[in-house]
């Protein structure tokens, strides 16, 4: 699959905007000595980003496959669940509870086995429980990492 010109323009435009912001901050913030290296890097960053953007505008960008609407539709549920897990649930519900829920939900969404079979659901529960037990054994017992427990576990 080849990316459309619009996708090239939007992606390279976003990167060029970040580059310009980085360069602006590097050249305006004080003390100047602390930003000496960021200035050097941001200059290269902006030059390359603008070059990429210019090529995209002229329709000369060739690399990249982009994200098709179909794959975006397929990945979106997983991405949303993962973001809720990482950015909210892990801290609020407790690491192990959040991991168990996220693991089970992701498995349920993407498991190719039919959703109508009781056996498949049983398998998913067992796999989730096994995974959490392994993670607890590895991180809590072996590595002694104290993870946020919060309202659950």
């Amino acid at each position: 699959m080849k990316m459309s010109k619009l996708s090239h323009v939007l992606s390279s435009g976003a990167i060029a905007a970040v580059g310009l912001y980085v360069a602006y901050v590097s050249y305006t913030q004080q003390p100047a000595d602390a930003f000496l290296f960021p200035r050097l890097i941001s200059t290269v960053f902006v030059a390359l980003a603008l070059w990429t953007f210019g090529k995209a505008v002229m329709g000369l960008s060739k690399t990249g496959e982009g994200v098709s609407a179909a794959s975006l539709r397929r990945m979106l549920p997983g991405l949303v669940v993962s973001c809720i897990y990482v950015f909210w649930a892990a801290k609020s519900l407790g690491f192990y509870t959040a991991t168990a829920i996220a693991f089970f939900v992701l498995l349920s969404i993407y498991d190719p086995k039919p959703h109508t079979e009781v056996k498949s659901w049983g398998k998913r529960v067992i796999i989730t429980a096994g995974f959490i037990a392994v993670m607890y054994g590895l991180f809590a017992l072996l590595l002694k990492v104290y993870t946020p427990r919060e309202i659950f576990f």
């Binding site: 390279s12 990167i15 004080q30 960053f45 990249g64 969404i109 498991d111 946020p148």
Partner: protein, 503 residues
Amino acid sequence: MEFIYYFGEVFTPISFGLLLIGTIGGLILGATPGLSPTMAVALLIPFTFQLEPAQGLILLGAAYTSTVAGGAVSAILLKIPGAPANIATTLDGHTMAQQGRGAEALQLSFLASLVGGLFGVFLLIFLSPLLSKAALAFGPSELFWLAILGVTIIGSLDSNSVVKGLLSGAIGMWLATIGFDDIMGAQRFIFHPALGGGINIIAALIGLFAIPQVITMFAKGRISVDAEIIKIEKHSILDAIREISRRTRALSIGTAVGSIIGLIPGVGGQIAGLVAYDQSKKFSREGHKFGTGHSEGVIAAESANNAMVGPSLVPLLTLSIPGSPTAAVLLGGLLIHGIFPGSDLFENNPEVAWTFIDSMLIGQVLMAIFGLYIASFAARVARVPQSVMAAIVLGLAVFGSYSVQSSMGDVYVMATLGIGMYFLERFGFSAAPLVLGLILGPIAEANFIQGSMIANATDGKLPYFFTGNLNVVLIAIVVLSIAYSAWMELRTRNTTPQAGASS
């Protein structure tokens, strides 16, 4: 011959146990499509925190070595390469398995990996001390250019677009400047409190290598691995040894090509395997048999992709410049233990450096022995549904990045960088130069600042950074690598439409 003195360290119960775990685990992970050696090593780093530096490196080194070899299992038995390095192995390996010669293909693959791997590690043993002595001549300006070279060479060689590769490197170097400046204590680009201490390199590595693969698995939707595992029949190992000793040409070509390519920063195992396969086919008397289940194809590809492992660590251990993304991850593993590779590594921490290298030698032998026994089990693991694999990798990434400093900030950084990298990859950018930029950025900055101070006290920045034999050579390599890659890119673009028209 200093390496001989440290062999005993590898055989202590804990070190040898870790070597076994790394080897067996690496073989299974390597056989699993979608889990690259780099990602496997990145996910293992959190497990090394409580270990001694040498023990941690033994685990990571064993995993690196055996994931590359383990990829051959799924390539041969499922026709799904475990890693890009094993693509060439599928060409003859799977055909052999279909012909009922799966066990022979696996035996040849692990024996070839053993020979290639041992040669590569011996190259590492003999080249590293020489290069580390030469590295003593490097001052701040040379080290600055060396860091820039590390990023530009991977940026230009590892990407389909030179400009996007270099831009990825620049983004990585910028990310490395986030946090408090070491000299003035000034805040730089701290958009969120989680970034106050800068970007934690281990969390970043986990995010950049693991999360894009998780999202890629999500993007495939509800699919099952339909590939059928070909049953492994019995085959005498002595016959395999006899066969490999008859195919010395393919073995030598594979080993030589892999070793040379391993020494060039940025050129990965995928290329080593394919180039070795191609060259063996050209120089073989039975070139016409390649692709039809010919043993030379498997031998050349597998000896090459394992021969490159040792040499790819030479620039890392001697100049602290990682030559590959996996070497960059190993650098992260060294840094968390307070060990800075470079010219004085073999003087200040010989027990760490030599024990690690010796363990790679022993690891090659263990990999060949266990590879043959757990191949069918590893192939079964490779059929684990992508849904399970994605959820496991996500969970490991979250726990692994949290355990670095017990900080939720690291988890946020890991996830944000990972999601961003997935989209960057889809838009033609590459993770390898970005990671190299992130790792080499602080080295480049420290030497740039130190060099600037020296320059201000002497002739000025321009003469200091742009004159001197070593500086000129390094700058020339930077320019040449970019120019060569740009030329290759233009040539490919000019020939592709013609090829398309003619077909």
